[in-house]
Each structure stands twice: as structure tokens, then as C-alpha cells.
């Protein structure tokens, strides 16, 4: 289990970066407070329950996280709030969001509202006995699948996500291909999400996508697109950086690669992030660091779109992770 969010924030803030540009202050680097754009992505974190325990997980999710999961009442509140917005996309994440008892109802309700629904899927969940109809459920409803796969080869994939994950992930991907996913059809979009397996930034997304398509075709797997996402220095990844002696160097790497051209596209600008208990955040990373959005007292139960649109976005040092190099967001590279 990772250290508490407050201790994570303190650890990052205490890193000696006074000699770095802007003293290592993201707010100073950005110049002015980040302000929201039109809300497009309504991201719901259904909780921390997961069938996996990945080494880089920023959620600190796992099979033992049976309490911090969204209940039916909070799901209803999410839907009521969604109806007050013009957000076109509902992004379901976790943990493994599919393991939440309310997942399928939520997907159906979003479908009724004509929303594009994204399921952030760890792939192996599709192979669980209790979830054997899940791939069909998702396919029948045209849910877009954003599936985690760090690398197109076994070694790195298993190093990050656990032994045997590579084989299971390929089996799950073939299952999705059989259901029509990953073959260019509009209602069956299969996106792969890659996080670097170590203390470095992602490479060129377009170039990697071309290589991955060739490599995975050799495994009998096809997919539509690859998104490369940087690892944020929080939670388990922060622990690993520290234990491996990479923390200071990784933060320097992020600071050196700071790219102001990413600011306009940062996901926090067009995203609402709801936690399992209905609290509101600017992004999933702020959620895990317990840095609430600057709308004091407001939760999903009394969501006011006008207040949401008129806030300053909360930032801290981890935000360099989204603004480094080509940038990083739930939608991949930015610049």
C-alpha cells in the first residue's frame, strides 16, 4: 500500500528543485492559473477494486480494496449531474470499473443519453469467470475500450503488470477482436494505453503505434490506436521511483521536458473527475492525491455546472507529468 496522499504531496513538495526553472513550481511555470474549457469528458472513477496490483498504479488499486467503491446512490447522482452538462463523453475508470456492481447499469444509462462511453479496461478482467459475458456486453453497446498494455512484448508487460499478464492480455485482445473490436469499425473502437515501464517518458506515439500494429499482428491481435501516457510521480509509481533511486532524476526529467505548448490541451481543462464517494476533482491524479477541485463544499450530489466552469484548476508538482515533452492526458499525447 502506498503512503497516504498527504505524505505523497509532501514528498514531492520537499524535493530540492530550487535551482530548476521556476523553482520547480508548476504554477509559476504556467504563469497564470489554468482555467476550464468547455466540459467534454465526464470521468467517473468507480472505485479502487481491481483484480490486478500493478506496480505503477496511481490509484493504489487491488483486490483488497472492497470499501472504496461507488454505490448506487452516487451513480444516480452522477447521472443527474451528467444531465446538467453538455459533456459528450463518459469515461469510466477505476480500479477495474467493470467489477463495480453498478457498472452495467451506468453504461446502459449513458447509452440511453447518447453519450460516447469509454471503459478503461485492464484486459485481464475480461477473462474472469464472473465476467465471461463482459466483452459481449461492451460490444453490444458500442462501448469504446481503452485497454492497458504497456509494451508489445512480454518482458516489459509482465514487469509492470505481473507475471502472466502478457499472455492474458493477448487472450483478452483476441476475444475483443472476435467481437469486432480493433478492426476500424466506428462502434467498436479498441485503443491501447501504454505507460512507460520505468523512469522515462513515452516515445513518439505515432511511430510506436505503427510498430505495435506490426508486432501485435504477429500475435494475431489488431487494434485501432495507441495512446502513450506518462507516469505521474504519485502512489505506487512514486514508491518505485524512490525505492529504485530514480525519484530526483525523474522529476528533473519532467522539469527539463516542460512544454508550455501542452497547457491548452491538458485534460484537466475539459474534464470533470468524480471519485467513488462523489467528491469532485480536476483530474484522476488530483483525485488520488486528494487535491479537491476549487469548488468548496460542492459534490456530485449538488453539482452546479456554472460553479464548475468558473474555477481555477488546482495544480502541484505532479502536473509536470502531463506537461512534459509531447504532453500526456487520458487521450494520449498533446503536442
Amino acid at each position: 500500500m502506498s503512503r497516504p496522499p498527504r505524505a505523497q504531496r509532501a514528498r514531492l513538495a520537499a524535493l530540492p528543485l530550487d535551482d530548476a526553472p521556476h523553482g520547480g513550481s508548476f504554477a509559476a511555470a504556467a504563469g497564470a492559473p489554468l482555467r476550464p474549457a468547455a466540459l467534454e469528458i465526464f470521468q467517473i472513477n468507480l472505485g479502487k477494486l481491481c483484480n490486478m496490483t500493478c506496480r505503477h498504479c496511481h490509484v493504489d488499486a487491488g483486490p483488497d480494496k472492497t470499501v472504496e467503491n461507488m454505490d448506487a446512490r452516487t451513480v444516480d447522482a452522477c447521472l443527474a449531474a451528467l444531465d446538467k452538462t453538455s459533456a459528450g463523453t463518459v469515461d469510466l475508470t477505476g480500479g477495474a470499473p467493470e467489477l463495480n456492481a453498478n457498472f452495467r447499469r451506468l453504461v446502459d444509462e449513458c447509452g440511453k443519453r447518447g453519450k460516447r462511453v469509454i471503459d478503461r479496461c485492464n484486459l485481464t478482467v475480461l477473462l474472469l469467470e464472473r465476467e465471461k459475458d463482459l466483452a459481449g456486453f461492451l460490444a453490444d453497446r458500442g462501448v469504446e475500450i481503452a485497454a492497458s498494455l504497456p509494451h508489445p512484448r512480454r518482458r516489459a508487460t509482465d514487469a509492470q503488470r505481473g507475471d502472466g499478464t502478457w499472455e492474458k492480455s493477448l487472450r483478452a485482445l483476441r476475444l475483443l477482436n472476435e467481437r469486432g473490436y480493433g478492426r476500424g469499425a466506428a462502434g467498436k473502437v479498441l485503443t491501447l494505453i501504454s505507460n512507460p515501464v520505468g523512469a522515462f517518458l513515452p516515445g513518439d506515439q505515432g511511430s510506436l503505434e505503427r510498430e505495435w500494429k506490426t508486432a501485435l499482428a504477429g500475435e494475431g491481435v489488431s487494434f485501432d490506436r495507441l495512446l502513450c501516457i506518462a507516469n505521474m510521480p504519485i502512489a505506487r509509481y512514486l514508491d518505485w521511483l524512490e525505492e529504485s533511486g530514480n525519484l530526483a532524476e525523474y522529476m528533473r526529467l519532467l522539469l527539463d521536458a516542460y512544454n508550455p505548448g501542452t497547457l491548452d490541451g491538458l485534460m484537466c481543462r475539459d474534464t470533470l473527475s468524480v471519485s467513488w464517494n462523489g467528491a469532485l476533482y480536476d483530474c484522476d491524479f488530483n483525485q488520488m492525491l486528494e487535491l479537491p477541485a476549487a469548488v468548496p463544499g460542492m459534490t456530485i450530489f449538488d453539482f452546479d455546472p456554472a460553479r464548475w466552469a468558473d474555477r481555477d484548476i488546482v495544480t502541484a508538482r505532479h502536473c509536470y507529468g502531463c506537461a512534459a515533452g509531447s504532453g500526456s492526458s487520458c487521450g494520449g499525447q498533446l503536442a
Partner: protein, 113 residues
């Protein structure tokens, strides 16, 4: 700035751009060329990075080994691929020595009874 106690200093890599101080126009041309070389073309960015890693070992440049170990990972290679690249460098270096043995062989055979 190095204190000149060592021939190699890790800080040199980060400060490499300063080499332009003595001959800015040449440095500009070199770095423009360098960045163009590593863009995707007939080879992918990852393949070029692996070649650079192998060459770094062949020329035994610690700066390049540092830079391209990091870059090869970033561009999507893994330890197995990177190690095989170094073996390619090793095989060519070793082979280059051994194939010169053909010259030695000719000299020796000509001069020997």
C-alpha cells in the same frame, strides 16, 4: 562546469549544446543535421535509437551510452532488444578484428616457408 578531475563528466551531456560557443554556425548545422537524422523515415525512431545505442558501444562513448540507453527505452525498446543491439556492435567489432586476420594470414603465408 567540470573541475577537470575526470576526463568524463556526466554534466557534459546536458551541456553539450554549449559546444557551439566556439563555432556557432558549425554547431547549428551539426545539431540541425543530428535532429533530422533521428526523425522517422525509412527507419522508425525506435530502430534509429537502437542503432545509435549499438554504435555508442562500438565507439565506447559513455555520453552516448547514457543518452541512448535512456532514449532506446523511451522509444519503446526493452532490455532484450537493447542487449541484442549491443551484441551486434560486439560482433562487428570482434569480426572486424578477426577479418583483418586475413591480411595477417596473407603476410604470414607469403613470408613463411
Amino acid at each position: 562546469m567540470s573541475n577537470h578531475e575526470h576526463y568524463y563528466d556526466k554534466a557534459h551531456l546536458k551541456g553539450f549544446g554549449d559546444i557551439g560557443k566556439g563555432a556557432p554556425r558549425l554547431a547549428e548545422k551539426f545539431f540541425d543535421y543530428y535532429s533530422e537524422v533521428f526523425k522517422a523515415g525509412a527507419l522508425t525512431v525506435r530502430e534509429k535509437s537502437l542503432i545509435a545505442l549499438a554504435v555508442a558501444h562500438a565507439v565506447q562513448c559513455p555520453y552516448c551510452i547514457d543518452a541512448y540507453s535512456a532514449d532506446a527505452l523511451k522509444q519503446g525498446s526493452d532490455l532484450e532488444q537493447m542487449t541484442e543491439a549491443v551484441h551486434v556492435a560486439c560482433a562487428i567489432r570482434g569480426g572486424a578484428s578477426l577479418v583483418h586476420g586475413m591480411q595477417m594470414k596473407e603476410h604470414a603465408e607469403k613470408a613463411s616457408m
